[in-house]
Symmetry: C2
Subunit: 334 residues, 2 copies
């Protein structure tokens, strides 16, 4: 192997959509490892909407990526050198590996994954953070009951597709909101959603009235903005709104658009609650096991959109914000 470690570093705090000039792609030496660490060769990186938040200054649920630092990213890699008994060379691991080819990392920050049980990219989608986010966000916070109407935005995305399918497993009437005919067809034909709304070509409020004639009991929101407002206007008594993200607002250069219809929470005695997957860390295992079983039974399907090449990271990230990915967006590094 060469002695070079390509890395993508954040060198400016973006205003609006990240620009190519906000990144520096350069080479460093491959790091050496200490006791308790392993050297990981990065194979796949997860490209997530949350990355945009990590690039901003200010208090959030996690510290921002520092200027000049390697961009944070979850990923799957293979151990190529180990100074800890817990990992052997050849083991695969999931962790915050960063947008780079190699990383020296403490084994306590890694979770071992089995390449024989599932294709590696699946550990970044349904069996990874997005899937587990959807699992706990829907079941613990959304608390869907059989027969209720569940709406999910960003429904063809990594989190949304899991949410909708689990809601179907729980006996709910499920409506997805996604952009484009292909995605909508996929939601209904492949994933078994009851219906899907193409926000790019349909009047969202009208379509919601058609597909949710009894109103909306649970809304799992990945999008925010006008989508959240349209749904708030049609929630039912004691509805639960799960705030998982707001991809429509992350690249705003003006203030975030707050939900004008938030007083619908009062009218309907409804609840809006934010979630972050890290809070459920203690229960990841149980969730992954349940999701694995559903996958094996064919009840939970996933789709990955895999791009290739570390150097393409800046452009691939933009695909996410332009809604050009179809399935969980993953960057294949090596």
């Amino acid at each position: 192997m060469s002695n070079q470690n390509s890395q993508v570093k954040l060198i400016n705090r973006p205003v609006g959509l990240p620009k190519l000039s906000d990144w520096d792609i350069s080479s460093a030496e491959i790091p050496t490892i200490e006791d308790g660490q392993v050297l990981i060769k990065v194979l796949y990186l997860s490209i997530d909407p949350a990355m945009r938040g990590w690039m901003n200054e200010g208090k959030s649920y996690i510290a921002p990526v520092g200027i000049g630092e390697v961009m944070r990213a979850g990923g799957i890699g293979v151990v190529i050198e180990s100074k800890d008994d817990a990992f052997e060379v050849g083991d695969h691991a999931n962790g915050m590996l960063g947008v780079q080819e190699y990383v020296a990392i403490k084994v306590s920050e890694l979770v071992k994954v089995d390449a024989n049980l599932a294709p590696l990219p699946l550990y970044l989608s349904t069996l990874g953070m997005p899937g587990i986010t959807g699992y706990f966000g829907l079941l613990d916070t959304g608390q869907p009951k059989e027969g209720e109407t569940v709406v999910v935005s960003g429904a063809a995305g990594a989190v949304g597709s899991v949410v909708g399918q689990i809601a179907k497993i729980k006996g709910c009437h499920v409506v997805g909101i996604a952009g484009g005919e292909d995605k909508c067809k996929y939601l209904v034909d492949e994933l078994g959603f009851d219906s899907a709304i193409d926000y790019k070509s349909e009047d969202l409020s009208k379509a919601l009235r058609t597909h949710c004639p009894k109103g909306i009991d649970v809304f799992f929101d990945n999008v925010g903005g006008d989508t959240l407002d349209a749904v708030l206007a049609q929630i039912r008594f004691k509805a639960r709104i799960v705030i998982c993200g707001a991809i429509s607002q992350y690249n705003n250069t003006t203030a975030i658009k707050g939900p004008s219809n938030y007083l619908s929470l009062l009218v309907n005695r409804a609840r809006m609650e934010g979630i972050v997957v890290f809070d459920n860390a203690a229960n990841y295992g149980a969730a992954a096991q349940q999701m694995g079983a559903w996958i094996a039974e064919g009840k939970l399907k996933s789709r990955e959109h895999i791009e290739v090449g570390l150097e393409n990271f800046p452009e691939v990230l933009l695909k996410l914000f332009r809604g050009e990915n179809f399935g969980k967006l993953i960057l294949k590094v090596a």
Copy 2:
């Protein structure tokens, strides 16, 4: 008694602040009563922010007041004629009496009150809807724990003052937001709040940082708008935001300002939930009993702002939206 019944009717749906021309004040005959009804002479009417919502067309938690109808209002009256065994002439009752001098009403829509136990206006404030709203909204939805920081907006109002005092009884650090030095002094000196912020003369965000150094665990909001946003920026992990009202937004002629900082719910895994007092109707009795005990112990104080004269209703309602009342606003009719 004369045979005339003065009434205030809504004749236009207001845009923005209600205008005097949105009302018609005229006389009708005093109604006759049927079996199961009583004739009530109205003594006191409750003037509430919620009235503004009742004047708008559209779905809400209660039907709008119809054009040409007597304006809805809660009130206290005395029975002057009865065709039901449950009420005798001279009994006092609380109910939705309307902005008028006399009303024929079914006894099932009335609650008897005892003029010997408490002054009648108290049944429209701490012992009435506002007090009970604060009681359940804070305790059931806000779920304050000892040592937590509770912030309440509209703190010198009928609901807010009850919320703050109950939070003190529960051992919380309590900060009130109100308009004007007099109200702020009252909150701290008379009601025992830990501190009060005058939103009219202070920088709200800065003052919140000073008075809530650990951040905000519970926010009970009667105001909305910029106040809600300022608080959202300073909530703690797992905070609870109780949406009781949004008086700053009720007279908007443009869209309601949604909370731009709502993603703080996500960052802090916090919850925002709407309340309407009617849902707790089954437990009014228990709440009133507890509040009565606190009043007797001197732990729960109230202040009423009493204006006089049915014909002044349109102008008195505006006082509320201009923040000119100091204490529960009540209109003495007779």
